[in-house]
Amino acid sequence: MALDNKIPQGPIASKWTDYKNHINLINPANKRNIDVIIVGTGLAGGSAAATLAELGYNVKAFCYQDSPRRAHSIAAQGGINAAKNYQGDGDSIYRLFYETVKGGDYRSREANVHRLAEVSVNIIDQCVAQGVPLAREYGGLLDNRSFGGTQVSRTFYAKGQTGQQLLLGAYSAMNRQIGRGKIKMYNRHEMLDVVIVNGKARGIIARNLVTGEIERHSAHAVVIATGGYGNVFFLSTNAMGSNVTAAWKAHKRGAYFANPCYTQIHPTCIPVTGDHQSKLTLMSESLRNDGRIWVPKKLEDAQAIREGKLKATQIAEADRDYYLERRYPSFGNLVPRDVASRAAKERCDAGFGVNATGEAVYLDFASAIDRYGKEQARIHHLDENDAKLVYDLGKKVVENKYGNLFQMYYKIVDEDPYTTPMMIYPAVHYTMGGVWVDYNLMTTIEGCYCLGEANFSDHGANRLGASALMQGLADGYFVLPYTIGDYLSKDIRTGKISTDTPEFEEAENNVRSMIDHLMNNKGEHSVDYFHKKLGKIMWNKVGMARNAQGLTEAMDEIAALREDFYKNVKVSGKAESFNQELEKALRVADFLELGELFAKDALHREESCGGHFREEHQTEEGEAKRDDENFSYVAAWEYKGNPREAILHKESLVYENIKMVTRSYK
């Protein structure tokens, strides 16, 4: 099937407006006869559910958590971008568009990104109207800060809990509609298959996680908004339950999966301590506004620190290597995430790591505390040479900005980051790849949509900070409600979709036989045993730096592990009850397929771009080397029964408004 991205004609700045002016609408009386299923209730799914319900559709929303309020969007810390130019520092829709395309290393779709930049402005208005308490200045106006990859302050925030506040905003909008009966909420439910009738997505098979019942749900369209698949690495910053299952089932039913190898490795996470670890914790990128990243200049100092003989604070200023400021003078500590992550790995690989495992660098707030302290002393006419006073005043400012993050660090690491620098290391964070969608956010299955992190379209090979929240809410509040209406306008006479058809029967049987196999398997290892093994393969061979040999090995190893999983996994308990082992087993089974496609995608992409770094393709200075001539396309994979047999379809990326140049943050 040829890929049609359905990008409207015309100049980029008017595509979205023209599109909206010409689509078909549905009158309110007819909307009442149309059902939409939304799977996942984070920023994208939650905002879509609320908005579609408000428009008058009957929405059925599903989440695996006990409440939509717990979706992992809640953990996003730093902020959300919007081209408001409240600061008057030169921001504009074009500049946000430009920086996002550049930040994504010219592997995102221009038309989608421009639309994102356009609606970003509305998102802030919308959230403030809902009562989201974004940070304010003393004059009562909204405050902004800056993030990696940009030189303006366009990031709106709510301390270090922006995702939480935005999600609670979407959740409250959902609650309003649930109370009215326009959204029927299915908590603790997991989608295990999508049902296709006459080529159109017409429903899902879901498992009630409390009772274990397998349920059929029909609708006129299905929307998947289940987030990213970073947990294929086992260790990631994702919530433990985050999974690829809904997206992968759609893939197996015909939705192409695009750019699976584009994974963001976030530079500022708390380092791994041991094999028991279940989860990695992110420290917001906003910390890089004030924190300076460094390692010792001398190998012997690094060695002494690792052995516990020296402390960070004992290293003289002249013996510290602020390597980001050294290598990238114009962006310094605010280089984009992929650049900062690779630079940290490079220093640690060279032997300058600062924790016991040698995989950590410092994020130091001493100079920020000093700078703010002196400023406060001057403001209040106090003695700026009194070191203790300056420290106390400065600490208060830093505490005000990042207090919860510092507390979080302290609880996990048991060290006070106000007095000793934080240790950080890159970790798997966000997946830019995902289900292929056209401009309408429709997948290659008619009537099946995909939003937010679960789709691929907006971030290219690297995502700039504070743009994930923006995309989730843009898709849910402002894009899908238009595009899905155009599609559903053909369904006003369809009537209820029956679940009593061979298609539902087949999908349900498919799910049941998988569950039966897992429950009756007489294996000897837990699900986690396999998941951890998969994670190790992924991190070591498909992680921050990849090469052809490692990727080829990884594909074989994952295939072998998958086979072993089906022979040797053991799931205790019963299928017809609350069974967390079974939930994990079903998710890991899908990760074991996705992982192989991920490696295959990375192997075929003979270039480095954004989060995808092929060791064979780098500059002499160790920077990523793109190959625009041969790889300026989206790799969309068609499922053919086995991940390694997936067929590649290419969507050419055409840049009409932005000149492709080598990314430089020097």
Binding site: A50, E54, Q65, D66, S67, R69, R70, A71, H72, I74, A75, Y86, V119, D125, Q126, C127, V128, A129, Q130, G131, P133, L134, A135, R136, Y138, G139, G140, L141, A158, K159, Q161, Q165, L168, S172, N175, R176, I178, G179, T237, A239, M240, G241, G274, H276, S278, T281, L282, M408, K411, I412, D414, Y477, S526, D528, S572, G573, S577, F578, Q580, E581
Partner: protein, 247 residues
């Protein structure tokens, strides 16, 4: 570390349930409490036993999913954290640890340590929102100036994660701290004033219907709240409720 765990096991809501003893070894101080339970569950699964069900998701203290009652305290012996942020360095080698679900009439047990907190959602359905369309046709955000002090206090109230520790630690199983946090967030913002009366009346009514008890001002909820939600919010809700009742 070697530990003795006394864990509440209950097959489902109807089952009677009981404490069961487990011995566990090889626990390191930098493991989180939930990672310690992962180790136990891995052993149970590999032996063919039913692992202990417990709720968890983000494991970084923000989703509000984890909910254990540890040695008689919601979220265990440390202050200002959720269970997933509790680390084993807070315990000693040889300790016996009691692990139970959050117990309240309005939080029925689903299995073992997992309880059903959907009563919290139903209270939110009754009024935990501002009635504004999500169409994007709103006024410019800076046309609603808000005092920094008010925005900060609204934010502080809005940081409630809905974990239910307040209910679990209250002798009356009152949900006042949770409900008052939401009421306060909107009461402090100009956008929320328009429907403040209906909001507080409806949410308090829903809270009572769900079977939560009354507040007797002992303050246990504030002490155990992982996000430091203040009792001031309860006072604010009471004022809002009183004002709404006499209107």
């Amino acid at each position: 570390m070697n530990l003795t765990l006394k864990i509440w096991r209950q097959k489902n809501a109807k089952d009677k349930g009981q404490m069961v003893d487990y011995k566990i070894g090889g626990i390191e101080p930098d493991m989180s409490f939930l990672e310690m339970l992962d180790v136990l569950n891995n052993e149970l699964v590999e032996k063919g036993d039913d692992p202990v069900a417990f709720d968890h998701d983000c494991r970084e203290g923000i989703c509000g999913m984890c909910s254990l009652f540890i040695n008689g305290e919601a979220h265990g012996p440390d202050r200002g954290i959720t269970t997933c942020q509790l680390h084993m360095r807070k315990f000693k080698d040889g300790d016996t640890i009691y692990i139970e679900p959050f117990r309240a009439k309005a939080f029925p047990v689903i299995k073992d340590l997992v309880v059903d907190r959907s009563s919290f959602d139903r209270i939110q359905h009754a009024g935990g929102f501002i009635s504004v369309n999500t169409s994007g046709n709103t006024q410019d955000a800076n046309n609603i100036p808000i005092k920094k002090h008010d925005a900060d206090r609204a934010f502080d109230a809005a940081t409630c994660i809905g974990c239910g520790a307040c209910v679990a630690s209250c002798k009356n199983s009152s949900a006042m701290l949770f409900v008052s946090a939401k009421v306060s967030q909107f009461a402090l913002l100009p956008q929320g004033r328009v429907e403040a009366t209906e909001r507080v009346l409806n949410m308090v009514e829903a809270m009572d219907q769900e079977g939560f008890g009354n507040c007797t001002n002992t303050g246990a909820c504030e002490v155990e709240c992982p996000k430091g939600i203040s009792l001031e919010n309860i006072a604010r809700m009471n004022r809002e409720y009183l004002a709404a009742s006499v209107k």
